[in-house]
């Protein structure tokens, strides 16, 4: 069990538990966590699972890949800690992870 806290744009927090190998997007969808859409199902095609990694976790989560960065660039409010939830895979090292979800994934 890997615990993840999602912080919504209004500050509401929600802690959920996922499995190693599961993506952050899949975890959010499976637990009905609002703020992540994940329309394309994890193919890195839509950019609707944008999350912002809490600064203290950024190093352990790591940077976005080249193509992921292309998609992040055209989300609504990308920042230096932005990742696509479908590309962040849970592992024991990420137990306790904190991520922020944006106000909207869409126009």
């Amino acid at each position: 069990m890997i615990r993840v806290t999602f912080v919504a744009h209004d500050g509401t927090t929600r802690e959920v538990a996922g499995e190693a190998g599961q993506s952050l997007m899949a975890l959010a969808v499976a637990t009905g966590t609002p703020g992540i859409d994940g329309d394309c199902g994890g193919s890195m095609a839509c950019g609707t699972c944008h999350v912002v990694i809490a600064p203290e976790w950024q190093e352990r989560v790591g940077p976005a890949s080249e193509y992921e960065a292309c998609l992040l660039e055209v989300t609504l409010d990308p920042g230096p800690n932005s990742r696509l939830g479908c590309q962040v895979v849970l592992s024991a090292a990420l137990d306790g992870l904190v991520v922020h979800t944006p106000a909207s994934q869409k126009v």
């Binding site: 394309c40 095609a45 193509y67 994934q105 126009v107």
Partner: protein, 399 residues
Amino acid sequence: MNFRPDVHTIPPHVRPELVIDFDAMADQGMKVDLFKRLAEVRDGAPPIAWSPYNGGHWMLFREKDIQSALSDADHFTSAFMSLGSQERGGPAMIPLGMDPPAHTPWRMLVMKYFGPARIRELEGRIRQTAEKLIAPLAGQSECEFVRAVAEPMPISIFMALMGLPPEGFAEFRDLALTVVSASDTTGEASARIMQILGELIAARSAEPRDDLVSALLAEQVNGAPIGGAELMSICFVLFLGGLDTVTNAMTFGIRYLAMEPELQAQVRANPDRIPALVDQLLRRSAFVNVQRQIKQDTVFSGVEMKAGDAVWNMCWAGSNEPGGETEGPRHLAFGSGFHMCAGMHLARLELKVMYETWFRHVGQFALAPDPEPAMVGGQVMHIKRLKLNLQPAGEGAAA
């Protein structure tokens, strides 16, 4: 089943109990009400069925299976789309007819211009277009919605986005309608569209402006500038993907609203509901049956499939499973997986603005009598016309 073997295709690896008597192109019931008929077919069919019509093809009816198929290019390829287009004298289909990994850099190029941040910049222009088309309906007692709004709105916006001059609207609309209607003159119309796009590309190569074609000309893919043929291919795919689909989404959505006065009243009382309404109506309208081809023999969800088999992903059925979700943004109206509609953010914004503008200018509305069936099945299911009776805004509540 009483299929005539000379016209119906059932290969030996297809188990007989999976074969259903349903023609996804020309079924009579679909002409009257696509969605009622699809629900009926889905309810009576195995989750994965074989239609012996139109050359014979699989049909996937379940959301889970469709999601898997559209995320699995090793078994479900899109390459046949490019080959088919080229056989008919058209361009390759970039990025639609490509599989990963070759597909990925082209997809990212397109997404760069169709992500939410870029699409938001178009909102002012979309609002102007909607206002121009819908405001004149305010005093009318009836309209044909397809001709009045659903056709011209996406065509105008596409032309502006690409950098095509607005005075070419009438010709471009007629060409677009001919191309998507798949008639005898489709080849001719496609050739003329490619000529128009070719002239546009040449003009912007010589003198760039603030439009998509100029921007794409300055881009690189795999470390090299985009060639003329590749750019033509992208523009043609944007053209094919972005016009009739938005028309259909608008028309099916307004049709549902016309049949449901209570839903209309809820939206009128609370226009903040419109973004959620967009997805609610898209789910109920999911009109694209996304096609793939089996790339290598496989057993998919317990069903044996052979390389070369055609597959139709029945996205309406998958988006509206009995007992499934009825709200929320996750449905299959834009497909799924790595080819998920690149224009979905543009489409959602066009739909949102259209509904907002519509409810501001038009009061209660209802279907007007139309003696002829207007719906058409196929890969992109559509409705040819939508006759409406309109009441002025502000009087809907009294009706």
